[in-house]
């Protein structure tokens, strides 16, 4: 990485006897948008708070722009942050809120006004300067919070689940808006979320966290299509799991429910060992292998008619494989209890490490 801007090195955080973040390493490039994705309690917020300076790492160090900031106070770090709970100052108007950081920094009044005006136009609330936070909707408040964080031109922007308090529609539009503003200003950003859709749609890279550790770091495409661990595979997207037994390591043959499928590539596990294979629903099709190279026989289970799409569950022994087919007016949907075949390409089969 030629242009590493934020570098988190071997960071650990203990609260008493519990380790919340363990051996965390990450290099973020200038202008990059990186998400910390994981379930609650995985340490993502604690990691973000350590970057902000609200928590002190028990070990390791954090560098911003080549400067070690590990022991620097939050108000000296030159960071912008947006909180889940908006945290606008209720006694100040929108304009005063946005100008807060500039005022603290001793920027001249004229400059403050110009910057506030600019920020208000960026967040598309040009006429809201004189309102108070309680007169705004949740989405508007969060946009003001973003403007307030960005007004002093910080080196780094931290977003701590900024969308989770908002309703679904606002969440999606604000998501696009945040990303657009971030790209336009080119500001290095860390975004904490437990929502995989947010992480996948917004990020340049995602760090999937679990139990205080970074399970996998990669682009949304890599994370979704080539999950490195079982946790990543199950947390990001929907996944069909097939429990099987290795028949041959070299050929990559696996026995599932008495049927053998061949992956056409070697498997690390020895023959006779149990193994878990995973398939995304969109990688499976219904019907006689349907031009795909591999297939399994099973029984149709639940059928959900969703309009344009029909979601079908096919039982293969103890495994249930979910798949979506498009609604074809010419042919009726499959009937539960009837035998069926599913087809997929060996390329799409994920072999999960536990």
């Amino acid at each position: 990485m030629a242009d590493t801007f934020l570098s988190i090195q071997n960071v650990r955080k203990d609260f008493g006897a519990t380790t919340v973040v363990n051996d965390f390493n990450l290099d973020v490039e200038r202008g990059e948008f990186v998400s910390f994705l994981g379930p609650s309690g995985c340490g993502k917020t604690t990691m973000l708070r350590m970057v902000a300076g609200f928590e002190e790492p028990s070990a390791g160090r954090i560098m911003i722009g080549g400067v070690d900031v590990t022991n620097l106070k939050p108000n000296k770090r030159d960071i912008g942050m947006v909180f889940q709970a908006y945290a606008l100052f209720p006694n100040l108007t929108v304009a005063q809120n946005i100008a807060f950081g500039l005022r603290v920094a001793g920027v001249s009044r004229a400059e403050q006004e110009a910057r506030v005006k600019e920020m208000l136009s960026i967040i598309k609330l040009p006429d809201f300067g004189s309102r108070y936070p309680y007169q705004l909707s949740g989405g508007q408040q969060q946009r003001v919070a973003l403007a307030r964080a960005l007004a002093p031109s910080p080196k780094l922007l931290l977003l701590d689940e900024p969308l989770s308090a908002l309703d679904a529609k606002v969440r999606i539009s604000l998501r696009d808006e945040i990303r657009a503003i971030q790209k336009r200003l080119g500001i290095t950003t860390i975004f904490v979320t437990h929502d995989q859709e947010e992480a996948l749609s917004m990020s340049d890279r995602i760090v999937v966290m679990y139990g205080g550790k970074a399970e996998q770091t990669g682009t949304p495409f890599e994370i979704y299509n080539r999950p490195a661990t079982r946790f990543v595979a199950s947390f990001v997207g929907t996944l069909n799991l097939l429990e099987g037994r290795v028949a041959s390591s070299d050929r990559g043959a696996v026995e599932v429910d008495g049927q053998t499928i061949e992956l056409g590539r070697p498997i690390e596990a020895e023959a006779g060992k149990p193994i878990t294979l995973a398939l995304r629903p969109e990688a499976v099709s219904l019907g006689e292998t349907n031009g795909r190279e591999q297939g399994l026989s099973g029984t149709i289970g639940d059928v959900h008619f969703l309009g344009s799409v029909i979601r079908v569950k096919v039982g293969v022994g103890r495994n249930a494989v979910m798949l979506d087919t498009f609604n074809d007016p010419a042919s009726p949907p499959p009937v539960a209890g009837t035998p069926a075949r599913i087809g997929f390409s060996p390329r799409d089969v994920l072999v999960l490490a536990d």
Binding site: A52, N75, P90, F100, G101, V104, P152
Partner: protein, 263 residues
């Protein structure tokens, strides 16, 4: 349904009578200084008395200084307890309740022993020093009310997130307390201030034993020697208290609405 309403009104009436009859009686009595007709003579006498003006002014100044001292001590303390040491809250609450349990006379005797003219901290050696000691003593007496008022005010805002938001924007502690915390608990602080004011204006024990020319000892003096003027003073004291309450009510209309919680 009807009977419960009857009892509600009955209770209300009894309560109102209990409260208003003595007040009206006092008011009526204060107007009867001139034989055979109502007049404001008693009030005229009171307002014309130099000692009234002097002691009242003295007590108002002392009350304002007490409030300032109370705010300076209580706001940062309550804030810090909420932010960083919530486990200490029961202890601090207990300490702030002590002035209710320990009589003022005990405190003032303690002061006289501790800060006499031959002690290492001779507050009592000068009149100004004694004034300072009186203010400190009043701030102590007002502590239970002030602390509770401020603590309740802090409960209505998200202290931690607002603090962090200000911090990350570069603010230091002075800026955070003066520009973020204090304005948002101002109404609470004002109601605490009003209670402090009410306590200080009528306080007798400390002022009398420290021999300061305050309003309380003056009231006592008048009460012991005159007939109509004490009633007039009592009515005035009520009027001042109610004026303070109205001011608080009006101010609370302008209170910042707390909108920092997600809805």
């Amino acid at each position: 349904m009807k009977s419960s309403r009857f009892w509600a009104w009955a209770t209300f009436t009894v309560g109102a009578l209990y409260f208003f009859v003595p007040l009206i009686a006092t008011l009526e009595f204060s107007l009867r200084m001139r034989r055979g007709e109502y007049s404001f003579d008693a009030y005229r006498v009171v307002f014309g008395d130099d000692r009234f003006q002097a002691t009242f002014t003295y007590s108002v100044v002392v009350a304002i200084l007490t409030i300032l001292l109370g705010v300076l001590v209580v706001v940062p303390t309550a804030y810090w307890i909420r932010l960083r040491m919530p486990h200490l809250r029961p202890v601090v609450e207990f300490i702030t309740l002590l002035p209710l349990i320990i009589p003022a006379i005990v405190i003032v005797f303690g002061y006289i022993r501790m800060y006499g003219s031959s002690s290492p901290l001779p507050f009592l050696a000068t009149a100004r020093g004694t004034d300072a000691l009186l203010i400190i003593g009043y701030a102590t007496l007002a502590l239970p009310y002030m602390y509770r008022a401020v603590d309740t005010g802090l409960r209505t805002i998200d202290v931690r997130t607002l603090t962090e938001a200000a911090q990350i924007l570069g603010a230091g502690w002075t800026t955070i307390i003066s520009r973020v915390i204090l304005p948002n608990v101002l109404i609470a602080v004002l109601s605490g201030a009003f209670l402090s004011f009410a306590i200080v204006i009528g306080e007798f024990t400390m002022a009398s034993l420290l021999n300061r020319p305050a309003f309380g000892p003056y009231l006592q003096n008048i009460g012991a020697n005159r007939a109509y003027e004490p009633a007039a003073l009592a009515v005035l004291a009520f009027a001042i208290t109610w004026a303070c309450m109205s001011v608080i009510q009006i101010l609370s209309r302008f209170a910042p609405k707390s909108a920092n919680q997600p809805r």
